[in-house]
C-alpha cells in the first residue's frame, strides 16, 4: 500500500562518479578513498491501489502523494569494497478524506558492497559478481500503523543481495536478487485483526524478496541510461479485507518498470541523476508512478589514478 515499502536507498538509482560510483543495487564501484555524496528528491503518487488483488480507487483517499528528500553517501573503503549510507526525509499526504498527513526522518540504511569475482566470457563479454549486505533502522519515532500515510514500517531490516553483471563494451545487463528480513514491530494498539485476532502490540513482519533486471548503455565514464524492471514480494503477510485499512504486515507485491539515467557535469565532480518508475501490477500496494532527480558530488582523497576492479 505504501509508496516506499523499504528504505528509498534500495529503490532509487543514485550517486554518480567517473566510471564507478553507485548504489547498492548496481554493479559499479567507488574507487578507494573516494567519497560521493548528495541529495535526491523523489516524488511519487497513486490514485488506484490493490486491495488484496482487487484493483480499486477510493474517493476518501483521492490521490496519495509522497515527497522525499534523501541524503546519501558512498565511500570507497578500497577498490573492491564500498560503504553506502542513506537517510530519507519523507512527507506523505492524501488529497481527499480527513486523515492528516505524516512527515519525518525515516530509516537510516548502511550497506557494504563487495566485489566478488570477474570472468572473461570471450567475444568481448565479461561477467562480474558482487554481494551486498546491509541494515536499516528507523531514526525517528514515526507511526507505522497508519497506512497509507505512515512514512515507513518501523522494522529494523537486514538485507543481502547478489549482483550479476554482464558487460559487452558499452552495453551491460545487471541482475540482482535480494532478500530482506524485517524485525517485529511494535504498534500503538494492543489488539489487531489479520486473518484472526491478535492480542498484543507486536506485529511479525514478513520477509521481502526482490529481483531486478537492468539493461543499459554506458556512453562514457559518467553517462549512462538504463531500463529496469523489478519484482518485489513479501514472503507471507495477509490481504487487506474488503474496504479495510492497510496494515504493515500485509502481503505486499509489486512489479514495476522504469528508466534511470546519469549525467556527469564535466570535470566538476558534480553529476545529475534522474529516474522514472511505473507500477505494472501489485497486491495491497498503491499503483505508484515515481520520479526522482538528484545531484551528487564526488571527491577523491587518494590522489591516485583510479583502477577499475
Amino acid at each position: 500500500m505504501q509508496l516506499n515499502i523499504y528504505p528509498l536507498l534500495v529503490a532509487i538509482g543514485l550517486c554518480s562518479a567517473p566510471l564507478h560510483a553507485q548504489t547498492d543495487q548496481d554493479a559499479l564501484w567507488m574507487p578507494a578513498k573516494n567519497i560521493c555524496g548528495g541529495f535526491v528528491y523523489q516524488y511519487g503518487s497513486w490514485n488506484h491501489y490493490w486491495e488484496g488483488k482487487l484493483y480499486r480507487e477510493n474517493e476518501n483517499i483521492g490521490t496519495f502523494s509522497s515527497h522525499a528528500v534523501m541524503a546519501m553517501a558512498n565511500y570507497g573503503i578500497n577498490d573492491n569494497l564500498n560503504l553506502i549510507v542513506a537517510l530519507p526525509w519523507v512527507h506523505n499526504k492524501v488529497s481527499a478524506g480527513t486523515l492528516i498527513g505524516q512527515q519525518g526522518i525515516q530509516d537510516l540504511s548502511a550497506a557494504l558492497k563487495q566485489y566478488l569475482l570477474g570472468r572473461n566470457l570471450g567475444k568481448n563479454y565479461s561477467l562480474h559478481l558482487a554481494g551486498v549486505a546491509g541494515i536499516s533502522t528507523p531514526l525517528s519515532d514515526y507511526v507505522a500503523d497508519y497506512l497509507p500515510l505512515s512514512i515507513g514500517m518501523r522494522s529494523t531490516n537486514g538485507f543481502a543481495r547478489l549482483i550479476a553483471d554482464v558487460v559487452k563494451q558499452k552495453w551491460y545487463a545487471t541482475a540482482t536478487a535480494s532478500f530482506m528480513l524485517r524485525s517485529n514491530i511494535k504498534i500503538d494498539r494492543t489488539a489487531y485483526y489479520t486473518t484472526e485476532m491478535n492480542y498484543g502490540n507486536v506485529v511479525n513482519m514478513p520477509a521481502l524478496a526482490t529481483v531486478q533486471l537492468r539493461l543499459g548503455y554506458r556512453k562514457s565514464a559518467d553517462h549512462y541510461i538504463e531500463l529496469l524492471t523489478e519484482h518485489m514480494e513479501t514472503i507471507g503477510g495477509f490481504d487487506i479485507r474488503r474496504n479495510d485499512m492497510p496494515f504493515p504486515s500485509n502481503n505486499m507485491d509489486l512489479l514495476r518498470t522504469g528508466i534511470n539515467a546519469k549525467w556527469g557535469l564535466g570535470s566538476s565532480g558534480l553529476s545529475l541523476m534522474g529516474s522514472g518508475m511505473y507500477t505494472l501490477a501489485g497486491r495491497n500496494m498503491g499503483r505508484s508512478t515515481t520520479f526522482s532527480l538528484g545531484v551528487v558530488y564526488q571527491t577523491d582523497f587518494s590522489k591516485k589514478v583510479h583502477v577499475q576492479p
Partner: protein
C-alpha cells in the same frame, strides 16, 4: 580470496534465511488456568436478568451414578485421558482458562472480523447488509460499535442467567464430580464445587453459541465447531461427563432462547432507518437554527444506525433516558463553540507523538473489536487475576456489557436528537489523526462507553478504580486529540457514561453476589 568472499555472503544469506522460520500462531494474552477462589455455590439465588426464577427453564433429572450409562460416560473420560495428545494439552490450556473468558474472546474476534463499512454502489448509494444473506457481500453484520455493544451485552447476560440456573440445578441434583465417582479420573483443570450436572462450562458455551449464531449468522459452522472443541476438552479434563455437558448445552441454549426472543423485539432490527428518517433528523437541526451533521465521506454515507437510541436497554428505561437527555451542545453560533472548534484545530495542528499513541491506542475503529471490545479485553485481563468462578465472571461481564449497551443507546439518542456536525465539517482545514466516524458529534461514544465501563469495573475491583478512571479519561481525551470531537462532546459523554455505570453498580450491590 574472492571465493572466500562469496562463501561469506552465502553464509550470511543462509543465516538470515534460517531466521525467517517463524511461529505462525496469533499473539495471545497468556491466561492462567481458572482456579476459582470461591465456588459461588450460592449463585443459584442471584438476581437474574430475564429469567423469572432459576428453574424457569427445566433441566431433566440426571441418571443415577450407579446407572450403566453413567459408568460408560466415566469410561469415556478415562479412555480420552489415556490417549491424550499434544493437541489435547493445548486445548486444555486454552479452555482451562475459563469458558466465559474464551467465548468473550471469540465474540471479540467476530466483531473485529465483521466491523467493516460497506463499499458504495456505483450509483453512490450504499448496500445494507442483510441477515438473510450473510455470506454474500455486503456481509452481515456490519458490527459497528452500537451493534457490537449490544452483541456483547446479550451474550454476557444470557451466559449469566444460564449459569445462575446451572448453579441452581447443580446444587439441586448433587451429581458428584466425575473424579469422585471414579478415582482413576484425573482433574486436568482445576474444579470448583463438588457437583457436575449440568456443566457450568458448557452451559456458558451453549448460551454463547446460540446467541452468536443469531448475531453472526455467517459463522454457524465455525461456532458449532468451537462448541464441539469446548465440549470434548471439558470431558477430557475430567470435570464433566457427556451427560453433564449435554444438559449444560441444552440449558444454555434454552436460556439463550429467552434472550433471542428479547433481541427480536428490542427494535435493533429497524435502527438503520429510512431516507425519510434521515431527512427528518436534518430538518430538526435546521429548525433549531443549527447546522445539521453531514457525512464527510464520498459518496455521502447514511449515518450509522441513527435509530439506535430507540433500542430497549437493560438498565435504563427509555423514558428515563429521554428525561435525562443531556442539555444541547454549544450552539454553532456561540462563542463557546468557536473556542471549542479552535481547541480541536490546535490539537490537530500540533499533534505530538504521545497524542498519536493515545489516539491510536483507543482508536478501536474500522476492523477492530470496537471500544466495548477494548473494555472487555481490559476487564478480562484483570478478572483473570481475581480467580472468579465462571458464574461470577459472567455476572461481572454482564454488568459491564449491559452498562455499555445502555451507554451507546443513550449516546445515540443524544447524537441523533441534536444531530450536530463534526469539527472538520465546520472547518475543513481540520485534519484528523484517525478515521472520522460517520455519525454526529455530540456526545462522544468513546467517552460514554468509557465512563460507564470504568465506573462499573472500579466497583468490581476497587483497588483498580483509579486506574480505570485514568484510562477512561485518556480514552475520552483521545477523541479530542484526534480532532474528531469537541470538548463538550467528551465531557458530557463521560458524565452520561458515569451515570449509566452507576446504575450497573446499583444492580451489582443488590443482585445477591456481594
Amino acid at each position: 580470496m574472492k571465493h572466500l568472499n562469496l562463501s561469506y555472503f552465502a553464509t550470511c544469506a543462509l543465516l538470515m534465511a534460517s531466521g525467517c522460520v517463524r511461529n505462525d500462531e496469533p499473539y495471545r494474552v497468556s491466561f492462567p488456568m481458572l482456579n476459582p477462589a470461591h465456588a459461588d455455590t450460592g449463585a443459584g439465588s442471584w438476581k437474574t436478568i430475564l429469567l423469572k426464577a432459576p428453574d424457569e427453564v427445566a433441566v431433566a433429572t440426571p441418571t443415577a451414578s450407579t446407572a450403566a450409562d453413567y459408568r460408560l460416560e466415566l469410561q469415556e473420560i478415562l479412555a480420552r485421558q489415556e490417549q491424550k495428545t499434544k493437541k489435547d494439552e493445548a486445548a486444555l490450556e486454552y479452555w482451562g482458562a475459563g469458558t466465559v473468558l474464551r467465548w468473550n474472546e471469540i465474540l471479540r474476534e467476530l466483531v473485529a472480523k465483521y466491523n467493516l463499512p460497506t463499499v458504495a454502489n456505483p450509483d453512490g448509494s450504499y448496500p445494507i447488509p442483510s441477515n438473510n444473506n450473510p455470506l454474500a457481500y455486503p456481509y452481515f453484520p456490519f458490527s459497528n460499535p452500537p451493534y457490537a455493544a449490544r452483541a456483547y451485552a446479550y451474550v454476557s447476560a444470557a451466559q449469566y442467567d444460564a449459569l445462575v440456573a446451572a448453579t441452581h440445578y447443580r446444587q439441586k441434583f448433587r451429581r458428584p464430580n466425575p473424579s469422585k465417582a471414579n478415582t482413576s479420573i484425573q482433574e486436568l483443570i482445576p474444579v470448583a464445587g463438588n457437583y457436575s450436572y449440568p456443566s457450568d462450562d458448557i452451559t456458558a458455551a451453549g448460551a454463547a453459541v446460540a446467541l452468536m449464531k443469531l448475531l453472526f449468522p455467517g459463522e454457524q459452522a465455525y461456532l458449532e465447531g468451537k462448541l464441539q472443541e469446548c465440549i470434548n476438552t471439558m470431558i477430557l479434563s475430567g470435570t464433566c461427563v457427556r451427560s453433564d455437558a449435554d444438559a449444560g448445552e441444552k440449558l444454555g441454549r434454552d436460556v439463550a432462547a429467552k434472550f433471542i426472543a428479547r433481541a427480536r423485539t428490542d427494535r435493533a432490527g429497524s435502527t438503520v432507518g429510512t431516507p425519510a428518517d434521515w431527512k427528518k433528523l436534518e430538518d430538526n437541526a435546521i429548525a433549531r437554527g443549527e447546522i445539521p451533521w453531514i457525512s464527510q465521506e464520498t459518496p455521502k454515507r447514511p449515518p450509522m444506525l441513527p435509530l439506535f437510541g430507540k433500542v430497549s436497554g437493560f438498565l435504563v428505561d427509555s423514558a428515563a433516558m429521554v428525561g435525562n437527555r443531556p442539555a444541547p451542545p454549544p450552539s454553532i453560533h456561540s462563542e463557546q463553540f468557536k473556542r471549542e472548534l479552535a481547541e480541536v484545530k490546535a490539537y490537530s495542528k500540533s499533534a505530538t507523538r504521545e497524542q498519536f499513541r493515545i489516539v491510536h491506542f483507543w482508536g478501536d475503529g474500522v476492523g477492530t473489536y470496537t471500544p466495548p471490545g477494548h473494555w472487555n479485553a481490559i476487564a478480562c485481563e484483570d478478572f483473570a487475576k481475581e480467580h472468579f468462578s465462571e458464574v461470577r465472571w459472567a455476572r461481572n461481564l454482564a454488568l459491564l456489557n449491559m452498562s455499555m449497551m445502555d451507554a451507546v443507546i443513550c449516546c445515540w439518542d443524544a447524537k441523533f436528537y441534536y444531530f450536530n456536525p463534526r469539527p472538520s465539517q465546520i472547518d475543513p482545514e481540520i485534519k484528523t489523526l484517525t478515521g472520522l466516524p460517520n455519525f454526529p458529534s455530540y456526545t462522544s461514544g468513546h467517552s460514554t462507553f468509557s465512563g460507564a465501563a470504568a465506573t462499573l469495573l472500579g466497583h468490581i475491583i476497587p483497588q483498580r478504580a483509579a486506574a480505570y478512571n485514568a484510562m477512561a479519561l485518556e480514552a475520552s481525551l483521545s477523541r479530542l486529540y484526534g480532532a474528531i470531537h469537541y470538548r463538550s462532546d467528551i465531557e458530557t459523554g463521560m458524565n452520561m457514561g458515569i451515570s449509566i455505570g452507576t446504575k450497573a453498580v446499583q444492580r451489582a450491590q443488590t443482585d445477591g453476589a456481594e
